[in-house]
């Protein structure tokens, strides 16, 4: 993995709570995320994984507790992070224009952003689809385009919210390979999944969420060898073959 000068990391949550109508979806979560490792947030549906990611990415504000970046560019966090959603939202324009859109917002000149967008598309294997209307791509291709759209920004942190939940195995493999490549290029990966196999393949460390609480955090091997909490053990044993 390539080193890069820190901009935002580490990220510190201190008793961060997100409540909707008084009901906590995320309940007093505290942790520090450092650069380097691939952190996978694991948990059942409704455990609060997506809310946790949106909180970290700045799409939600905590209703109690705090979320803050400690790096030198903490005052302008948007520029150094990106997010890939479960369902990619493609703009009604070409694939290349979708990938270049974020660079346009960053004020990068047209020639350079097209060159960088083409390079990003080539890295995810979609160079041949650059001119196609993005919305007419298959679900898997759209998710690869969404990865290119995030990667082209060269974020310090990339959040991925169940990026393969609606994809077939081939597309899932492609997405996982690209997430690995993005990590190798120096980006911190924070990803949610409810799929144990994927967590094993992608993660360096596991953060296990249960009903809004962060109840276990461990290296991937230790977590799967012997989870410390009964909830995590039940979750692992409940996995279908």
């Amino acid at each position: 993995m390539r080193d890069r000068t820190p901009a935002l990391l580490p990220l510190v949550l201190d008793s961060a709570t997100v409540a909707v109508a008084g009901v906590p979806i995320l309940d007093r979560v505290s942790f520090t995320l450092e650069a380097g490792s691939r952190s996978v947030v694991l948990g059942a549906n409704g455990a609060g994984k997506s809310v946790l990611l949106r909180l970290c990415h700045g799409l939600l504000a905590p209703t109690a507790g705090t979320m803050r970046w400690l790096g030198p560019h903490a005052g302008d966090p948007g520029r150094f992070q990106a997010m890939v959603f479960q369902r990619p939202i493609m703009l009604r324009r070409s694939v290349i224009a979708n990938v270049a859109y974020g660079l346009k917002l960053a004020g990068i000149a047209k020639a350079e952003r097209l060159a960088r967008a083409h390079a990003a598309l080539a890295r995810v294997g979609l160079a041949h689809l650059a001119g196609r209307p993005a919305r007419l791509l298959s679900g898997g291709e759209q998710q690869l385009a969404a990865l290119a759209r995030a990667w082209v920004l060269e974020p310090e942190v990339l959040f991925l919210d169940e990026p393969t939940a609606s994809l077939d195995p081939a597309a899932t493999r492609a997405v996982e390979a690209i997430v690995g490549a993005i990590h190798t290029s120096g980006t911190k990966i924070v990803m949610t999944t409810h799929n144990l196999g994927q967590a094993r393949r992608v993660a360096d460390e596991i953060l296990f969420l249960d009903r809004g609480r962060l109840i276990e955090r461990a290296g991937v091997d230790r977590f799967f060898a012997g989870p410390a909490t009964t909830e995590a053990r039940a979750f692992i044993e409940g996995e279908l073959p």
Binding site: R54, L59, F85, I89, L91, Y101, L105, P133
Partner: protein
Amino acid sequence: MNTDFFAACAAAFRLIVEADAGLIAIVGLSLIVSVAAVLIATAIALPLGAVVALARFRGRHGAIVLLNALMGLPPVVVGLAVYLLLSRAGPLGEFGLLFTPGAMVIAQAILVVPIVAALARQTIADAWREYEEQLRSLGAPPRLAVWTLLWDTRFSLVTAVLAGFGRAAAEVGAVMIVGGNIDGVTRVMTTAIALETSKGDLPLALGLGLVLVVLVLAVNAAAYSLREAAHRRFG
């Protein structure tokens, strides 16, 4: 009676095929008035629809209900209101607009604004629900996000504008009151049809009616094929 009807139809077709000068003048004025009204209304209604769709302000829900209700604004009431505004004793009487095509443009624009604004608001609100997180994640500032939404929904917005045109071209009450149906000055298709029918000149009334129906059909066909083509092209 039947022979009357068919005779009138035949005469109506003759007027259309021979491009009768009186008929052409009336159709031309109708188009000029309604197109001008729709252009002015669109310039007001699209920003209005976008603001009501995206801005968070007190009374927003009331504004949405009002906008939707105003889609059914009775043309005669709008005609009456504009008449009072533009009449010699009214607050805008000094401009001398009453019984001119300008007055008709104003009245039709007032009728069209709520239609285009309400349809645009719905379109933009739906798109925002879909795009919001992605655009915020990419760091789009509000002004640019609005522009991206308008651009991505442009074909649906054109459909909204064409719906407004259909309303403008087909209404009779407002233009009758503020235009006065003066021959050669403010006589448009709908007012001419009403007058000629009561006078008993059925061929002209029927001919104009046919042109009006074909026009409305053509506008709707254009709106439909535009959306279909856009869907195939952009998804």
